[in-house]
Symmetry: C2
Subunit: 248 residues, 2 copies
Amino acid sequence: MLRRGFQAAVILGHHGTLPGATHLLPRFNPASAFGSSMESLVSRFCQEMKKSKNYALPNASWGPDMLSLYHEFLEKTKTNGWVRVPSFRSNRDHIQGFKLPLDLSANSDKSDWRLFTRCIEREGQGYEYVIFFQPSEKKSICLFQPGPYLEGVPGFVHGGSLAALIDETFSKTAYLSGEGLLTVNFNIRFKNLIPLGSLAVLNVNVEKIEDQKMYLSCVTQSRDQQTVYAKASGTFLQMHLEEDSSRQ
Amino acid sequence: MLRRGFQAAVILGHHGTLPGATHLLPRFNPASAFGSSMESLVSRFCQEMKKSKNYALPNASWGPDMLSLYHEFLEKTKTNGWVRVPSFRSNRDHIQGFKLPLDLSANSDKSDWRLFTRCIEREGQGYEYVIFFQPSEKKSICLFQPGPYLEGVPGFVHGGSLAALIDETFSKTAYLSGEGLLTVNFNIRFKNLIPLGSLAVLNVNVEKIEDQKMYLSCVTQSRDQQTVYAKASGTFLQMHLEEDSSRQ
């Protein structure tokens, strides 16, 4: 999984120019390295990696609520165009063969990088989640079963851990819906605490795409939709992945 | 660490009344169980727990930048009124002997709960941070050295992991400054990506306290203040901890 040639954007170039900003955002080029169709982008980004564990599959810690809703959405992948988004230990697995557009190389001298929302290895203790994406409607559902390592107020989910998972679901949805890659801003209003071990459902929608920016919303609620846990919105910057000619 | 009798707020009662809300927020009682002085609140909340590991102390993974700034602030605790906030594996350690004010009991049938920002046990891999609080100015500094498990864009900190740590620093600052306990809303604007393994400094201020709410701001930047990584704001709800008569 250790690779050279990764390059990353470090200046988001929004809300005015920052003092000391030396790396300006390039103009968005709508001609993607994936080709122009979302179908091709989705299939490329969501392909299974034989060598990488897919964390979006059920494990023994998933409760009955999580499992039954998972199977409901799995059925929808067969007939209604939904896609189960695979989830790897690092975003490096999703973008194998590509590099990010700007000109700062990431330090790659360690091999044990992990996507933050997959940082806890022990099943059931941290983030258990799976994202389903609906390309034609540009929306996602994330099924989230928080474990006891995500605690804030005793017995309940830390607000920051929910915010992080919404940001992660936004980021996958933004990329698949139109190559939105980097969070520009994020806002969340908390309505109710989520009990650890329960099931929360994140409903994410792309609201609009305008001038290189994507605007997303999320309502997090209980499965029966009777309890709203949080409402969030986020803005992402579009930037496409290019072929990595330095790949080794 | 396993205790009975924890009770937690589940309705934050902000931005209007929620449909289906059954647990209304009690009026804030300014007479705290700690007594009225902030000094007493801080010393009670920040006391060392002999049986609990304090994660706010240096370990072998801390780099030279993190260590030198830590010692700078440690000096300030001796002369300038700063307080090093201890950090335990769970908020249960901070509030031993107290319960949260509302009437829902948290499920306490497991012993291995962890504060989200202390969820990664391996030194240097996840969150390395320490918070210093200045009571008279109602402000905090959090020194943050992100490890490789906090990744988003390859080589850089996941926006959600920074958001979570800011929320956590807000929450400790809000409690110590005036018993602000629950996040009502949170907003973050990302300016630059933080390289994994570097040092970021979170500068948190209480902007105002009004009508049971506390308003906080945070600027996250490099140690030399030349690079702003993110700006954030948050609102917290005040609610004091009461003696827990059911303690066993």
